[in-house]
């Protein structure tokens, strides 16, 4: 009882005025834009610091964005036009379900609360997330699903199909109405889209842009021109080496003993004298 009231107090201190609170919060809202929480039949706009529990659903509008932190999972981003629900991990080891749209999960190599395993539902299907992974999950409008891995390896289980491992830079797509996987490699650019969007949404919280411009004042000019005294022409004497540089090479070739002395050079031809006589 005391604990529940404390949760209530903490949630309210953080800005929420909702009175119907989850019993066991599993996530906190770090940032929210154009997003609503469906909780116990009511719809409320979340604010920074709002605690979320199992059963609560987040719905982002077209330009919406929400960043959550789950101590057992890591950072979870939900992008525009998406819907997800937090689940009770005690039931199926599932921490949430992406119902529509696109999300991004970063699981630190050492999560704050070590809970193994951690699963996330993609529609009805399941993605297992070991520590140290970065993964993008998508549920399309035609029951097509996609997992893109930018760090680590995840395992996907879907229906009666054999589970597959999806590695770094790989994309796995499947549809609920077809019994086949499509797994492709080499889409790291797409895999990192989520990360880039996070950085963009985060804005210049590091004030890096200011530093970048400030550093211009300290840029030296042309001091790192490594061409320096390196020869313009890299030729035979530079490769073979010589005493006294290119000139020394010429002197060596002019004075060195020849491979054959003149006396060692045979005359051309068979060197056979043939006497020819003519009959009258």
């Amino acid at each position: 009882m005391v604990s529940n009231l404390s949760w209530l107090l903490i949630g309210l201190l953080a800005g929420s005025v909702e009175t119907s609170r989850p019993v066991t919060p599993i996530a906190v809202v770090r940032r929210a834009e154009s997003v609503e929480i469906e909780s116990h039949g009511a719809t409320v706009p979340p604010s920074t610091g709002r605690l979320l529990g199992a059963g609560e659903r987040l719905v982002t509008q077209r330009e919406g964005y929400v960043e959550l932190y789950l101590p057992s999972v890591g950072t979870v981003l939900l992008f525009g036009g998406s819907r997800m629900q937090l689940l009770d991990p005690a039931v199926n080891e599932d921490w949430g379900r992406l119902e529509r749209g696109r999300m991004w999960i970063t699981r630190p190599a050492k999560p704050a609360t070590e809970t193994t395993p951690v699963n996330w539902r993609v529609g009805p299907d399941q993605v297992r997330l070991p520590p140290g992974v970065k993964v993008s999950l998508e549920v399309g409008s035609h029951s097509d699903r996609k997992v893109v891995v930018s760090i680590g390896q995840v395992t996907v289980r879907a229906g009666t199909r054999t589970p597959i491992d999806v590695d770094l830079g790989h994309v796995a797509t499947w549809r609920s109405d077809r019994n086949a996987w499509v797994k492709m490699a080499g889409d790291l650019g797409r895999a990192r889209l989520g990360e880039r969007e996070q950085l963009r949404r985060q804005g210049d919280v590091l004030a890096a842009r200011r530093s970048l411009v400030e550093w211009l004042d300290q840029v030296p000019f042309g001091t790192q021109d490594r061409a320096g005294m390196r020869p313009i022409h890299w030729g035979t004497s530079d490769v073979m080496g010589a005493i006294g540089g290119p000139a020394g090479s010429v002197l060596e070739e002019a004075l060195r003993p020849p491979p054959f002395f003149e006396t060692e050079v045979p005359a051309k031809g068979p060197n056979v004298e043939v006497e020819v006589g003519f009959e009258p």
Binding site: V2, S3, S6, W7, L8, L9, I10, L12, A14, G15, T19, P25, R31, G49, L51, Y69, P71, T75, P108, A109, K110, P111, G189, R192, R196, L199, A208, R210, S211, L212, W215, L216, D217, V219, F221, G222, R226, A227, G228, M229, I232, H233, W234, G235, T236, V239, M240, G241, G244, G245, P246, V250, L251, A254, L255, P257, P258, P259, F260, V265
Partner: protein, 518 residues
């Protein structure tokens, strides 16, 4: 049980979202509940989220307060430590920021902004080389921009690829690449990249716009398209076999000589195209037994010219160029004309990775020997004048500390005399290392095999018509920086040409002197 609802009421009375309301979550009060650890977790999460929000709003003091509390309540949450590191950095508490970055990494944080943050902190601390090394290993656009500003080749390449992928924040990319170009001495490119960046259409703050204008003025003022270098070298050489005589016919002869060399190098950049020229002179004075060795007392000059054109988006990966060198050599204080050589041709250079280059050269060469040669009227098999072809492949590496190369060379010579017709090839390697701030050490070797001939009629005399020779060259040096650009040089160069008895020779020189470079 009673205090909770009262607090709720109090909170609800205050305006939601107002400062006191939000920051109440960061009050450092003891947690006294039946499930203290759960409550600590919850309070820590809320404090961390509020601290992050305050950080984004620029309320640094409040942010540090909230995040410090959050770190205490959630010591194992890496992202909270990252946020606190950012707040400390913004407040100028750089040592504390580095500590939190380190802790976040130890806790497994992989957020990309952590790299950028560390680069910024190291830069603010003046630890530029560490900042550059960190930037060169990072993938985020901002880290790559910072790396390019610091002169990082990998960062500049990564930035170039991102510029091509999207146009997002393209003006920051252009600014960073401009700084990179300025560092490389490419003033014209640097100006081109920031052309129009200070116009009102670009969304820069007044401070940023002023910085860009200041940078442009500095480029106008200081960046030079002319890059001159000069080198003067003076050594005393202890020489064995200065006339390259056969070591089997003549006992090895030694002498001492003074050797002077001067070299000037000039590069002129037209946009990204580099035109370069150099001139070199050598003069030797034999000090011991001059009468015996004066013919080999080199007096020489050589001139080189070249151009290199990049292909592709700046900074380019592929370069095509042309270079040529002419060398004219005399002996005995210009009383003897030894000969002259012209060598030149096209090359392709490819930047493979940071510091790594692969270069393919195709060269034509012509040797014209003078006073040591038989007259042109005499038909002799040992006449040395020749033309030839060379194909060279070089793998080059260079950074602040190491300059290294591995070369492979194929050669073919057609001489006036059959004895000097040759076909062969060889390999070479060399390295020059900055061992300490004052000492550079280096060395190298080459091994070259050549088959000379055929002389006479090969179909009649068979393998006796050709002779193979193996020439080895080894060099080692050490330079000690005295002051400014002046070094003391100690160097050894050794040649061993392995051939039939009577044809083999060896030579060696140990040099001690000074080198001055501008």
């Amino acid at each position: 049980v009673i205090l909770g609802p009262i607090a709720v009421l109090l909170v609800q009375v205050s305006a939601p979202g107002s400062e006191p309301h939000r920051l109440d979550a960061c009050k450092d009060e003891p947690v006294v509940t039946a499930t203290a650890s759960d409550d600590a977790m919850a309070r820590g999460l809320v404090a961390s989220a509020v601290g992050y929000e305050e950080l984004r709003r620029g309320s640094l003091e409040a942010s540090v307060r909230c995040l410090t509390l959050a770190v205490r309540l959630l010591p194992d949450v890496s992202i909270v430590r990252r946020d606190l590191a950012i707040a400390f950095f913004q407040q100028g508490q750089l040592a504390e920021a580095l500590t939190q970055i380190d802790q976040a990494r130890k806790l497994g944080e992989t957020d990309l902004s952590l790299d950028t943050l560390e680069i910024l902190v190291l830069g603010r601390l003046g630890r530029w080389q560490e900042a550059l090394a960190k930037a060169e290993g990072s993938q985020t656009p901002m880290a790559q921009r910072l790396g390019a500003v610091l002169g990082g080749e990998i960062s500049a390449d990564g930035l170039k690829r991102k510029v091509r992928e999207s146009g997002h924040d393209a003006y920051l990319d252009a600014l960073a690449l401009s700084a990179y170009a300025a560092r490389q001495g490419q003033g014209a490119v640097a100006l081109l990249l920031i052309d129009g960046l200070d116009s009102p259409d670009i969304s820069l703050t007044p401070t940023e716009r002023a910085s860009v204008r200041r940078f442009r003025a500095r480029i106008d003022d200081k960046a030079r398209d002319w890059v001159p270098h000069f080198r003067l070298q003076s050594t005393v050489d202890a020489v064995s076999n200065p006339l390259y005589q056969s070591s089997t016919n003549t006992p090895l002869q030694n002498t001492l000589r003074l050797a002077f060399a001067g070299e000037g190098y000039l590069a002129y950049r037209v946009g990204e195209v580099t035109l370069s020229a150099s001139a070199r002179f050598d003069q030797q004075l034999v000090l011991v037994d001059r009468a015996s060795f004066q013919q080999g007392e080199i007096g020489a000059f050589s001139v080189s010219g070249g151009l290199e054109v990049p292909f592709g988006v700046y900074p380019a990966v592929l370069f095509v160029g042309l270079s040529v060198r002419y060398t004219d050599v005399f002996g005995d204080l210009y009383r003897v004309h030894v000969g002259q050589v012209v060598e030149g041709g096209p090359f392709i250079r490819m930047r493979m990775a940071a510091g790594w280059n692969l270069r393919l050269s195709v060269l034509g060469t012509a040797f014209d020997f003078s006073d040591f040669e038989p007259s042109s009227e005499q038909v002799r098999a040992t006449q040395r004048d020749r033309v030839g072809q060379r194909v060279g492949l070089s793998l080059l590496y260079g950074d602040r500390f190491i300059d290294a190369a591995i070369d492979g060379l194929f050669l073919n010579d057609i001489a006036d005399g059959q004895a000097f017709d040759a076909i062969g090839g060889g390999v070479a390697a060399r390295v020059d290392l900055q061992a300490t701030t004052r000492i550079r050490v280096g060395g190298g070797f080459s091994v070259m095999g050549r088959q000379y001939g055929p002389v006479g009629e090969q179909s009649v005399i068979g393998s006796a018509a050709t002779r193979a020779e193996l020439r080895a060259f080894v060099e080692a040096h050490i330079r000690y920086r005295m002051y400014g650009g002046m070094d003391v040089l100690l160097e050894d160069r050794w040649i061993q040409n392995t051939a039939l008895v009577g044809h083999r020779y060896a030579a060696n020189v140990v040099s001690l002197g000074v080198v001055n470079q501008w």
